[in-house]
């Protein structure tokens, strides 16, 4: 056992998979440059020396390197692509959505695309184009698996499961959760470290995780919002409100079994999302809950999400934009009182 942050856990996970399976390689911008950073958030730091020729630094060409990952995967390799910031997935999305996600179906089930795309998201003082919550743009794409990792344990386990999966898997990470130290440290970072077991383990790509059991209200969130939801639950406990916090974690497909068990128990649901409210993943989860467990709800589902605006730069507005523990707690109070 050792205590690790998400960046270190991902790094070890990638290294272990590369050692286990020589088809695994990494591709992306600034991921293996000597004297460089090991990617924008240090995840691949030091791996280029360990795995010569298998940490591939590309030109700034997201569409290109993503397409190459798709092609290499089709020919039997197991690429892990690194998107410096999730926002640049828009450039790569043609290859992901039109090629990676559809190859299997279009080919009548004869093609496999076992690739991983990792991308950090989150509003972090960088302004509108380095901040977006990108998961919503990919969760509705049949043929793509989408997960979001909020703890170091999950990050390593889901990374490994994704590498071993025969389908394209997108892993969303959060800039405030890497826990990277030193030069690349982020102001406002939240502790997402875990005890990491010594041996090999995987975490399934289709299961939510109950982070804190409770009986009065179910709070669903992922990435940074899972942490804020847990903080809100702590506050609420002191007030006598018992919130069950679920880290949704697998965003496509969504684990309605775990969610349903909780909804049947509490009858009240708050869904928290960092992206804008309109068109978010929370809308899909809300509809899914209504269809499956509507009869068990004692009050309408509540969403706590960001404003329907681009991410603002100035800290005052950025903090007002994004949900925080106080807003989540208030939504739970309001709902529990109904």
């Amino acid at each position: 056992m050792k205590r690790q942050g998400i960046a270190e856990a991902l790094r070890d996970g990638i290294a272990e998979e590369m050692t286990r399976d020589e088809r695994v390689f990494c591709i992306g911008e600034d991921i293996g440059v000597p004297g460089g950073w090991g990617g924008a958030f240090t995840v691949t730091l030091g791996l280029a020396e360990k795995f010569p020729g298998r940490i591939i630094d590309t030109p700034i060409a997201e569409l290109g390197f993503t397409g190459m990952a798709v092609g290499a995967a089709m020919m039997g390799m197991r690429p892990i692509a690194d998107m410096q910031y999730g926002d640049f997935l828009f450039l790569a999305s043609d290859q992901l959505i039109n090629n990676a996600a559809k190859m299997r179906y279009m080919s009548g089930g004869t093609v496999k695309v076992p690739m991983v795309m990792r991308a950090p998201i989150g509003a972090t003082g960088r302004g509108s184009q380095h901040a977006q919550s990108m998961e919503r743009y990919f969760t509705g794409v049949p043929g793509l698996k989408v997960v979001a990792v909020s703890t170091a344990y999950d990050a390593k386990g889901m990374l490994k499961a994704a590498v071993r999966d025969d389908n394209p898997v997108m892993i969303f990470e959060h800039k405030l959760l890497y826990g990277s130290k030193g030069a690349r440290a982020e102001p406002g970072a939240v502790d997402a470290t875990s005890e990491i077991p010594d041996g090999d383990y995987t975490v399934p790509l289709d299961r939510a995780a109950v982070r804190r059991p409770g009986t009065d209200v179910t709070v669903l969130g992922w990435l940074l919002m899972a942490h804020f939801a847990a903080a809100a639950a702590g506050t609420l406990a002191a007030e006598g409100i018992s919130a069950e916090v679920i880290d949704v974690r697998s965003l496509s497909p969504i684990d309605y079994e775990t969610i349903g068990e909780s909804v049947r128990k509490t009858g009240r649901v708050v869904i928290v999302e960092e992206g804008p409210k309109t068109g978010g993943v929370s809308a899909e989860i809300c509809a899914g809950i209504m269809e499956r467990f509507g009869d068990h709800l004692q009050a309408p589902v509540v969403r706590v999400a960001s404003a329907d605006v681009p991410v603002p730069f100035t800290p005052i507005l950025e903090n007002a934009y994004r949900p925080d523990a106080a807003r989540i707690a208030q939504a739970c109070r309001d709902l529990a009182g109904r």
Binding site: G36, W37, Q129, A307, T314, A320
Partner: protein, 332 residues
């Protein structure tokens, strides 16, 4: 609507004129001192956000923008402070923006990576590498359709030429002979990656020939060479001979962003480029003329220093947005 002046643009000043040259020098010093102060404020922790700075690259922005008329336009990138100052944005509106104030050039909503002012011919910086290239071609298409005499100078880095957006944008500008000067600031690195790792042909201006238009490589640390090339390019654009690709060879003296220590830059390379610093070089040239003294240059720097100091004081007290500002400006 796009700021086109009705009359023919006024002639540009004589490039040998003493005041004009001192103006170029002043702009370069302004950019350097602004960036140094911002770096200090950032490291000190008073300034929020992230920063991408341009110390060492002052001659590119200065030389190009001095070749443009007031109603010409520029597009910029995440590394846009120098472009903004050279295009005439004020120290105050930029510092206010960096401090997230409503008096900033983008009301605190843009920040360092999106500096701009539509009233001054600068589109907010586009932080997606190469994202400004097709956009600038589109602006030039508008100028052509509107039959104005305007030109857009589109700034981007060496890293951008690997993106599809570069190739799509320059090709369309070429086939329709659009008035856009593509200004590639080749500082040898895209983030931590040196150009020789990511291009087989590192002569970026050669790309123009592949698409059938003019390209030129220029010493980007020689402000007069940059200026002369930019004048020729803008003139070509105005007479329907556009577009033009200018590759300006330069070097970033500071980190890519934030606290980057540049360990990927070789020591001898850094030293070689430091000895070609654009400001020191230009100062030497100016002093050799005989009609400019060290005291003249010192006075310029002193004036700029106090301007920036005053600007910082004001910016620290500038009005911050209220929550009502969160939802404004989304739609026109």
């Amino acid at each position: 609507m796009n700021g086109a002046s009705a009359a023919n643009p006024p002639a540009l000043p004589d490039p040998q004129d003493r005041d004009f040259l001192l103006g170029l020098y002043g702009t370069m010093v302004l950019i350097r001192e602004f960036e140094e102060r911002v770096k200090f404020l950032f490291l000190e922790g008073t300034m929020p956000g992230t920063i991408h700075q341009c110390q060492g690259q002052e001659a590119t922005a200065t030389g190009v923008c001095a070749a443009l008329h007031a109603d010409d336009w520029i597009t910029s990138t995440f590394r846009g402070h120098g472009h903004a100052l050279a295009k005439g944005l004020t120290v105050q509106e930029m510092l206010d923006e960096l401090f997230g104030a409503t008096t900033g050039c983008c009301k605190g909503k843009g920040g360092s990576m999106h500096m701009g002012n539509m009233a001054k011919g600068m589109v907010p910086g586009i932080a997606i590498v190469a994202g400004g290239i097709p956009l600038a071609a589109g602006m030039a298409l508008a100028f052509k359709m509107q039959r104005t005499q305007q030109v857009v100078a589109c700034f981007f880095g060496d890293g951008a030429v690997a993106e599809g957006a570069f190739h799509e944008g320059v090709n369309m500008a070429a086939i329709w002979q659009l008035p856009v000067v593509f200004v590639c600031e080749n500082n040898l690195y895209g983030a931590s990656t040196r150009i020789d790792k990511v291009m087989k042909n590192p002569r970026i201006s050669d790309r123009a020939a592949a698409y059938g238009f003019q390209g030129e490589t220029v010493d980007g640390n020689d402000v007069l060479a940059v200026h002369a090339a930019a004048r020729r390019a803008a003139e070509a654009c105005r007479t329907g001979q556009g577009p033009v690709l200018l590759e300006l060879l330069t070097y970033r003296r500071t980190g890519h962003s934030r606290r980057d220590a540049c360990h990927y830059q070789a020591k001898d390379e850094r030293e070689a480029w430091f000895s070609r610093d654009p400001i020191t070089r230009f100062a030497t040239q100016l002093l050799a003329r005989g009609d400019i003294t060290p005291a003249d240059l010192d006075a310029i720097k002193a004036r700029i220093d106090s301007q920036i100091t005053q600007g910082v004081e004001l910016a620290k007290q500038a009005p911050q947005p209220t929550l009502a500002d969160l939802t404004t400006d989304v739609f026109a």
